[in-house]
């Protein structure tokens, strides 16, 4: 029997005007049909930091994450405001394709295209009007280096992406995202299908990438959250219960539900 926690008692940090933010949501609600899945989500993400979203299965972390780049369009109804560079991108008139180029996403299961490694990276670039060979080659190298995959694949760029290992495929997916030169990178449990060694590689990659990108990562793995993130938000049954710097969250959680979750005595 799951213990009942009050949704009134929350501890969500806010940032003052001096902190530059990558993006922010304001009173965001998500509905799957008549099912209210996300309640009053108010979170702000500081620039060039890794923010981890943690919580049990079904707590709404992935739902929240997928709303940020409008991947829930056609699947769920999202209301409220999503602020990105001073624009509310949760408006019908917003060009979602443009938005997704700025807010990239990496999924739980590695999903490289059934094409060569090279094509995986350049396909979307070409579709967006980058045709110059030199520029494409440059982007391939930069993005693969950024995802720490370059040394492993540089001699085999024409090999099928499907012939790579799971960890390499996931890093290719990260490379594919950062090749678009995004601003924010959303990752939905990127390591849950990977072995521990591949996980370490992806984590190292992310720590390196936060210098250039703002990263929001959903993870089931609390060790992972504490290893790589600067901020951490705890989700419970569609509510954001606590949001604090990761160190504080893990050493001194403010409210009972977070304390129980982090202590492992949840429910």
């Amino acid at each position: 029997m799951l213990k009942q926690y009050s949704f009134e008692e929350t501890a969500v940090q806010t940032f003052d005007d001096k902190t530059s933010l990558a993006m922010r949501t304001e009173d965001m609600q998500v509905f799957y049909g008549s099912n209210h899945a996300m309640f009053d989500a108010n979170l702000a993400f500081p620039k060039n930091q890794i923010t981890a979203l943690i919580g049990a299965s079904g707590s709404g972390k992935s739902t929240y994450l997928r709303s940020l780049n409008r991947m829930n369009d056609g699947i769920a109804t999202v209301t409220g405001k999503i602020w990105y560079h001073g624009v509310n991108i949760n408006e019908p008139g917003v060009n979602i394709y443009e938005i997704r180029r700025h807010i990239g996403m990496v999924f739980q299961r590695p999903n490289p295209f059934a094409k060569s490694i090279r094509e995986n990276i350049v396909y979307a670039l070409r579709a967006n009007g980058i045709k110059k060979k030199a520029e494409l080659e440059e982007r391939i190298e930069q993005s693969l280096k950024g995802a720490a995959l370059w040394d492993e694949v540089k001699d085999n760029l024409d090999k099928s992406a499907l012939s790579l290992s799971g960890g390499q495929q996931q890093r290719l997916c990260i490379a594919r995202s950062i090749a678009m030169a995004p601003d924010v990178l959303l990752l939905d449990e990127p390591c849950s299908a990977l072995d521990p060694i591949s996980t370490v590689k992806v984590e190292e990659t992310l720590l390196e990438l936060q210098k250039k990108y703002s990263i929001i990562i959903v993870t089931h793995n609390m060790q992972q959250a504490s290893r790589i993130s600067s901020q951490c938000a705890f989700f419970h049954l569609g509510h954001i219960m606590e949001y604090a710097p990761t160190g504080t969250m893990f050493s001194n959680p403010q409210i009972p539900v977070t304390q129980d979750y982090i202590a492992g005595s949840f429910g």
Binding site: E98, R101, F113, R176
Partner: protein, 295 residues
Amino acid sequence: MNAKRTDFVATVVIDLIVASVVGILFFLLAYILTAGLPHVSWSFLTGATDAFSGAGGIGVQLFNSFYLLVLTMLISVPISLGAGIYLAEYAKDNWRTSLIRSAIEVLSSLPSVVVGLFGFLLFVVKFKIGFSVISGSIALTFFNLPLLTRNIEESLSAVSRSQREAGLSLGLSKWKTELGIILPVALPGIVTGIVLSAGRVFGEAAALIYTAGQSAPVTNFADWNPMDPASPLNPFRPAETLAVHIWKVNTEGLASNAAALSAAASAVLIIAVLLFNLGARLLGNYLYRRVTASK
């Protein structure tokens, strides 16, 4: 009986069933080929038919079959590609989509002779096109469409949803994702389906008797202007196909060697259909390796 014994008996029974299916096929093939192949010669494959008795070669019919096939595919592949993409990607899960699906199922279960009769009444008589290649290929399109649409829809739906998400998350439009990412992955399956349906179209007779006609007027293979009445490419000339020829020689053929003629023509038809099947496999595998860049 213990589990091990049950398992053994079940395995033997299943093996026997499979063996009988394969056995029937090989028996049929062997029978048709041994009966027909001895009568197949180069002059039979290329020669002209005597319009009255049905004796002689099958050159024109062979050409007609391929020409009709090409025309049918030219009409039906684009339409079913559009319909398949619509059903797999754009159709919402509502009553309208299920109505479309059942319409496609009904169309695919129409007897080919009915489709032929319909084509006869509408194109041949009403539109006054007459017995012609074009009437035949439109009739064949009718029952080729549902099979192809189904095949294309299934091939597209078999592609993992995560591939679509990957495309969308990179800022690609739905259409661009569909065309550049999903379609190439589904292509081997689609091509296999097209070639297999080509085999069915190639062997179809009932729908063509009333639409493409039962006569193969002498055509001038030196004249490739589609507008000339004697040109083999003229889509408005009557065109008896190989399958129709077999039916005709058997039912109303006056040639003394009618049995040998139809056996030989059947052997040729079977070989052509087998080649389509083999081609479908090879082409499908080849395309899969090409698009996925796996060697």
